[in-house]
Amino acid sequence: MTSTAPTRHPVVPSDPPALLLDGITKTYESKAGAVQALRGVTYHFQQGSFTAVMGPSGSGKSTLLQCAAGLDQPTAGTVLLGGTRLQGLGEVELTKLRRKQMGFVFQAYNLLPSLTVFDNVALPLRLTGIRPRRQDVLAVLDQVGLADKAKRRPAELSGGQQQRVAIARALITRPAVFFADEPTGALDSKTSRQILSLLREATDRAGQTVVMVTHDPVAAAYASRVLFLSDGLVAGSLDNGSPAQIAAAMSDLER
């Protein structure tokens, strides 16, 4: 554990920011009264970075991810993705942006059970109106080590294999930013390592940006930086931490 104090980041980064959050707040109205999930989060995700977002339950990490990906509208603040302001975009424009610039990997594998592996991976291209080239689809499947499973259906694959298909589906559009929410939450440690290595590869090889929400220090250790959230605010960060260091920082936060 080195530092849990909020760290300032340069306002003008050397690389253009892949994703910029500026003063994000999110308030949910419920019968019991207003609940503040995010209370003013400002952060740059630099291009090619792999950031893990951690925090106790209720710290707002999933809300942060949803706001950053434009799945949910923040109550206040702006999100810039690759220079495009998400606020003020219509549903269709948001969808098109999501389709081109973002990839998603979630705990529940989120594959369409009716489609083969090949068709699942090719689906984002088809939705864009592009006829997927066979070798492209097979190339990303090869990247995740599933080139031989193209004709299977999701139900015939193990959990780890399904998650790799989900990553291949996210890879096919070459998105600028990957959003991952507990991608290894339902997997054993060996399969988890494969998945995390794949995400890491995306940043190292292709310069893609990964934002991953997790509660697992081992998973977070694959990231180049861990961002800690607490009570809807950025509580600090840790660069290149070991699982032990990250776990210690987490238990400090939860105290």
Partner: protein
Amino acid sequence: MFSLSRQTVRRHLPLYAGSFVALAVGVFMLGLAATATAATIAYHGPEADSILVQLPGTDGAGPHSERVVLSGADASGLQVVLSMVGVISGFITIFVIASTFAFAVASRRREVGLLRLIGATPRQVRRMVFGEALVVALAASVTGAVLAQLATPFLLAKASYTELAPVKLEPASPWIPLGIAIAVGLVVALLGARSAARRAGRVGPVEALREAALEPPQIGVVRVVFGLVFLAGAIAMLALIQPGTGEGVVPLAMFTPMVLVVSLTLLAPLVVPWIGRLWALPLVRWTQVSGRLARSNVVAAPRRSASLAAPILAISAIAGSMVLSLSFAADAAAATIRDTLTAPIVVTAPENSAAAPENSGELRERILTTPDVAAADGGISVGIIRADGDSAELEDGEGIDPAVAATTRILTPISGELANLTGQTVAVGKEMAGLEHYKVGSEISVVFGDRAKGTLRVVAVLPDAPGVNGSMLVPLALARQHAPAAVPERWFVQPAGGVDPAQLIGALDRQLSGTGAHVVRAEQWEQEQADGLRKGNQLGLVLLMGPAGLYSGIAIANTLLMGSLQRRHEFVTSRLLGATPAQIRRMVLWESSLVGAAALTLGTVITATVGILLRHAMTEGLRDVPTTIPWALLLGIGALCLLLATGAATAPTSFILRRTSPADAVGD
């Protein structure tokens, strides 16, 4: 997107099987009604027995001719029933399809959310759902049409030589009728899928990340507005069911329930939970926990409750109103016959007397020579074709002697003078006069059964009395002239003053022994007429409500089956929380009973409202109208609906509970 639609349909086959079955059965019935109608249109009757009537034609339509079958033995009765079968089938199909598609989409919110997440626009999602509907609709429509084609010969064989079509019907070319049925099926499916697709388009990408699949409980403003508009329309139609409306009142009483059903279905998410809550009051008191749970489920998922209640509401209201309306109409008709006939004795001629007219004169002679007979009124029936500008209608004309007839029946004209019924004149009923705008002095072009043309002048307008009077009353001499072979089928006999009818019946019996004629009291004859009417109604009712009832039964079972199969996760979780399988089964039983009871309550309200209004409208001016409520039939409809609803809900629940253990909740 189309290939995606095709693949998702294949995957969700159990979910779409419901929609498929519902639509295939709907198209089957429409197709059957259409092919049978085509057969009735193609039927031409024997040449010798029909007349080609030349019509001058009115505005638009030029002069043309129309064939009229003189014996009246054509398939027009069947045609009317078939067109009503078509309307009712179409109506219920729209109904069932809309709710099954909505159901199929509602239970796939997560999947739709996922598509949105990976980049499908709302428009693409709408197209996908629409595409799925198209795939299902195509397959189902073609299947239904093929089945209809296979079943047509059986239906025609069954329908030939009945009261509705006393002729032999042969299948006609199936292409046009089946084409229409398929087209209607496709249109109905796509209309039903439209609202489902719209709703799917509104699903946000975040839905992919949520666990709970419960729909938000709000009800669209548009839905409520449309519900109120239909309700207003139905109330306006109900207001028309009153004595002044006349002949339109029976069809009105049959179609108003449909409008009411549409309205109440739209408003069901508001109404059904509320009524369900009332029915739950005793249930919560009697049961420990299952009744309470059932109530919360019905109230918390108003949309689900509403779509489960819809088919029960539809069939109970439509079938109930129809059964009650026809029964009340028969009551009113029976009262009319009773009030019109004043003669206490009726003599019916033997059935074969038409073949031997010379016997008829003898019969007349014998009746009149019986002591104490004051008057014997035997009308002669004569076919009269009313040739109006552009239509030719066969009427059952009756030749009467006004002086005699006035002593055995009440023939007090509304306007005009019956004594003027001599020469080329006619007296018509109030209904025909109203429809055709006949007044005293109007002239009607006619063609008689012997193909002679003529013009009849209206001399009187009488109260309607079908069953006693013919629809056009002409002088006896005129009827004899155009139907020389015709003989009276029944005689109304009036005894001389102070003579006991019972004694006269005895005397007539002796006098007429050997002729084959029957002498009965008027009450008995009236009863036979009413029974005949009810029997005729019953056949129509079976033809009308049989398929619709079967279809609704399938629909009720369908929606409840789909509903229960979707709830595996909920059941398993409840098991984990410590609910025994028996408790869950009881909860589902009470739940489906509450929904069924709420729907039947609404159906009963509709049936009773329509029945009471119709009765009031039809019995105006009649005294002591008997009230025949077919309780067995009505209660049977209700019980069957309830049985189907609870059975279709509990059977899959038991199946799921046998196949799963609480531990599944953890791994799911």
